[in-house]
Amino acid sequence: MTPAPPRPKNQNSSQGFTSLGWLRWVLPVALIAVPLLASELQLRRFTQVLVLVLAVLGVNLVTGYTGLISLGHGVFVGIGAFAMANFLDEWNLTFFLALPLAAGVAGLAGLILGMPALRVRGIYLALITFGFALVFGPVARRLGSITGGPTGRSINRNLDPPAFLGLPEDYFQHYRYALCLLVVGIWFWIVRNLVESRMGRALRSVRDDQLAAVVFGVNPVTVKAGVFSLSAAMAGTAGALQAYLFPFVSHADFDVFLSLRLYAAAVLGGLGSIAGAIYGVVALIIVPALNGLIGIIGSEEIVFGLGLIVLTYIAPNGIAGIVDRRRAEADTDSTTS
């Protein structure tokens, strides 16, 4: 009887890319523990960062799975937030209608901006999306009727949980947290199914060899535009949820550094890996916290930037790559012993 061959260590199997590994057990525990342990203010902060995971996952989908470098996803976060503010305040829509509409507006913006951008490749796309990120602030400043101009605008709608739930006021923040978690969960489910499907293979084929993809009947332009639009919708959802959690939106919140932070988080976490988006956002939460504790370097930016440079050398696949490698080593150890 021949022994079972050891599992290959390759990084390309879809299993290595999408499985959450130990996160599958740790994550639910952590996500349930946080609202029980945190104060209301901490929970609010935590939720605001948590929804950013959607934007990071969007960057990951575009840059990691499809190989399109996007330095401009903060733009779509901003569009989602401003759209949400207008839908809630000007159009008087309910939250449950405004959220998908805001995501749709961001997705449409992604399609419109993506159409020209996606005809160029590699560093040129990085250049164009960087340009988008740089001009979004000035443009938003100017469109005062939508964005509130230089000062920003507050959302005056009552965003409390529906009255029929009968929640006491102490639990409003928990409700918001649960709602955001649900939305984030739905998006993760969509992306997971997408990348494991025929479409996911099409994305990776466009990334790895566009010519071969064409030969196999994949239309790269359609695939790229579709995935760019979808990821923009995800970023837009993140923005809309942020506007919901903190009812004030201003152009200053969506400057070029938001786009760069999202990109950095996606790369740090691990491109081309769903778990990577989670690690990236964990880094977004932990680095400032650690910084606050140690207090040597007053700026989390410096830590992120250095992390980006160092990881490019030692772990091109980000934190998820390190975790995967550990797991693969553990697997071979257990099969050989």
Partner: protein, 316 residues
């Protein structure tokens, strides 16, 4: 007509800034294939070093946030402004060369993704350091050329400011030096060899790494000079040069990303468009930046080689 000349003059100063930044971008791009998104931050950092050297770290500043940087309140060095600018430019050159050695040499064969990651990381770090050291608020730097309200000459019924004349004079001197360096010295010859074919150059025994250092030094110095010139005219914050970067990127793309001549011409054209278009069409000036991005997209889509760049043929 007077108005036209006035607008022409108004655009000239920005033209000098965009041209220098674009030339810095092009110098690195043509030798390494890397678009240095961190160019503006490196320039900004150098300009603040110049501020310290000119003894201005306690200088007048705007806004309530001023004086919150780590280095604020330290006494500066009492160099005169031109010497401080010169030293800041040298600092930019050294910093550029060091970045090549420490960070970019190891990625010589890196994928576009790796190069973008590192430049973005660098951008974030440098911007963080600048705001840490000197705070995020805008402040007034010492003047390099007389830049007061009445410092101008009348030409054809329009005002040409001394700062514009001085900046262009400086830039022209620098351009002559760079041209001589590239065309008359052995190091320049090596640099041109590398830009035309790196592998052959390496086989001919040209020290590629050391020569690329030269390119980075030139770029770092040009950026530092552009930032110092900007800082001596407008109130300067850690984010001022980032605003200029988008115009410089548009200028470099318009001129052709691998053409030094194109960078200069592109810088002048973009700056003129920036003052002329809103001026004559009555558009808000802030939206000129949108035109810059449109230029970027249109050139990359329809004529990626720009005005003077090399046409690249892709073999399928």
């Amino acid at each position: 007509m007077d108005l036209f000349i006035q607008r022409l003059f108004d655009g000239l100063f920005n033209g000098a800034i965009y041209a220098s930044l674009a030339l810095a971008l092009v110098t690195i791009y043509r030798s390494t294939g890397l678009l240095n998104f961190a160019q503006a931050e490196l320039a900004t950092f150098s300009a603040y070093v110049g501020l310290v050297l000119a003894g201005g770290s306690m200088g007048a500043s705007f806004g309530g946030l001023a004086g919150t940087g780590l280095l604020d309140g330290l006494p500066g060095y009492p160099f005169s402004v031109p010497v401080a600018v010169l030293l800041a430019t040298i600092f930019g050159m050294v910093a550029g060369a060091l970045l090549e050695v420490v960070i970019f040499r190891g990625l010589e064969r890196g994928s576009p993704l790796a190069l973008v990651n590192v430049t973005i990381g660098l951008l974030i770090v440098l911007s963080g350091l600048t705001t840490q050291f000197w705070g995020g608020a805008a402040r007034i730097f010492p003047q390099l050329f007389p830049a007061d309200f009445d410092d101008f000459v009348w030409i054809g019924g329009a005002r040409l400011r001394y700062t514009t004349i001085g900046s262009w004079a400086t830039l022209l001197v620098v351009l002559v030096v760079i041209t001589l360096l590239m065309n008359r010295t052995k190091a320049g010859l090596a640099f041109r060899a590398i830009t035309s074919n790196r592998e052959s150059a390496r086989l001919m025994g040209i020290p590629v790494g050391r020569t690329l250092m030269l390119g980075w030094a030139v770029a770092g110095g040009l950026g530092a000079l552009a930032a110092c010139l900007t800082a001596s005219v407008v109130s300067f914050s850690p984010f001022t040069m980032l605003g200029a970067l988008i115009y410089a990127l548009a200028a470099a793309t318009l001129g052709g990303l691998d053409s030094p001549k194109g960078a200069i011409v592109g810088g002048i054209i973009v700056a003129q468009a920036q003052t002329m278009i809103p001026g004559y069409l009555g558009l808000p000036t802030e939206l000129a930046v949108v035109a810059a991005v449109i230029v970027l997209v249109v050139v990359l889509l329809f004529k990626p080689s720009g005005l003077f760049g090399t046409v690249r043929v892709e073999r399928v």
